[in-house]
């Protein structure tokens, strides 16, 4: 490498910078819901095939994160929450992040196609396309419904995992997708309540920026109200058992309480209720999906067959 090559970078690009591009925390949630889809799906695949499917889901999620960071690097640099990401910090060039993201996405979809099945590969390709093109390039800077519609991309991993094992889709994976889809708005709008000025400075039309905090609190409560009953549906379609029903009902009730507290919040500077809601919403995905996995691994019967 020529000396001028290294000097043209503000800082040397490390392996850690590329790893950070994959958004490992978001990836872990996607992998977890994808794993739930793989485990609860009917049918049997070789464990290595299941591992390959999960690896492809993880890689595609990471690639989507890298491409999101590449295309949004201008606004990431303006926002406090994202200013320390590798591209705005000057650790990685935007073009390198794009090449890295598209290469990994293509490899993940091709591997899924070759070794798992066409349906899972097609869904995986659609998920990357939806997150990068529809959400990041299309909706994010144009409408306050950005995360509502864009949330479909983050909701699809259980269906991809299911398709990888079963080779088809049915009502059960669609319900799991619907749960995560309905969960996305209260989760991200809770965050946007206390990051409102950040989004406004970057020109991102999040709901509190465009419609105000009051309208956002009402919308969060409505979505939580719809999500709580939807969350227990898997127990009545032969997917979840008693453990799932108890845990999802408890989490739904807890989420609803926090959404109500957010609705009544008076402290518009620190937004403590919205911060609690954000934390509970993370648990809301983790706990019921963990219950589904535990029930299947320990052969606990579904409540309704």
């Amino acid at each position: 490498m020529a000396v001028t090559d290294t000097l043209s970078y503000p800082r040397v690009t490390t392996v850690g910078d590329f790893f950070a591009l994959l958004k490992p925390r978001v990836m872990s949630l996607v992998v977890f819901t994808g794993l739930a889809g793989i485990i609860v799906a009917p049918g049997h695949v070789h464990p290595l095939t299941a591992f390959t499917a999960l690896l492809c889901i993880a890689l595609a999620a990471g690639a989507s994160g890298a491409l999101n960071m590449a295309y949004d690097s201008d606004i990431d640099g303006v926002m406090t929450r994202t200013a320390t990401r590798p591209i705005p910090m000057g650790h990685i060039r935007r073009e390198d992040a794009m090449a890295f993201g598209w290469a990994i996405a293509a490899m993940a979809v091709a591997t899924m196609w070759l070794f798992v099945n066409e349906l899972a590969a097609g869904l995986l390709a659609f998920t990357v396309f939806f997150y990068v093109v529809v959400y990041t390039l299309g909706l994010k800077r144009r409408t306050p419904q950005n995360i509502v519609i864009g949330g479909l991309a983050g909701a699809l991993p259980p269906a991809i995992g299911w398709a990888a094992v079963a080779g088809n889709l049915s009502l059960a994976p669609i319900v799991l997708v619907a749960i995560i889809f309905m969960w996305t708005p209260p989760h991200f709008w809770a965050l946007s309540l206390w990051r409102c000025e950040d989004y406004a400075r970057a020109g991102v039309p999040m709901l509190p920026v465009v419609k105000g905090k009051r309208a956002t609190r009402i919308q969060i409560f409505i979505y939580a109200l719809l999500l709580a009953p939807l969350g227990i549906v898997p127990a009545f379609i032969g997917l979840g058992g008693m453990l799932y029903l108890v845990l999802s009902a408890t989490m739904g009730f807890w989420l609803l309480l926090e959404a109500l507290a957010t609705l009544r919040e008076k402290d518009e500077v620190r937004e403590p209720a919205a911060k609690r809601l954000f934390g509970v919403s993370l648990l809301y995905v983790f706990v019921p999906f963990a219950a589904l996995i535990i029930e299947r691994l320990f052969h606990l019967p579904p409540l309704w067959t």
């Binding site: 490498m1 000396v3 290294t6 000097l7 040397v12 690009t13 490390t14 392996v15 590329f18 070789h46 290595l48 095939t49 390959t52 690896l55 490899m107 591997t111 070759l114 070794f115």
Partner: protein
């Protein structure tokens, strides 16, 4: 942070080596995975 150009180039060279090792490991992992998955598929297709 001010850094001596020589130190910087040494560090750049070390990081480049680390990146190459990470890339080699990733490619090696893919080759092994493809090899094993090919065997799994061959077994499934031939009913062994």
């Amino acid at each position: 942070m001010d850094e001596n150009p020589r130190d910087r180039n040494d560090r750049a060279e070390r990081e480049r080596r680390k990146r190459n090792i990470a890339l080699a490991l990733a490619l090696g992992g893919i080759v092994i995975l493809f090899y094993l998955m090919s065997i799994v598929q061959w077994h499934e297709n031939t009913g062994h």
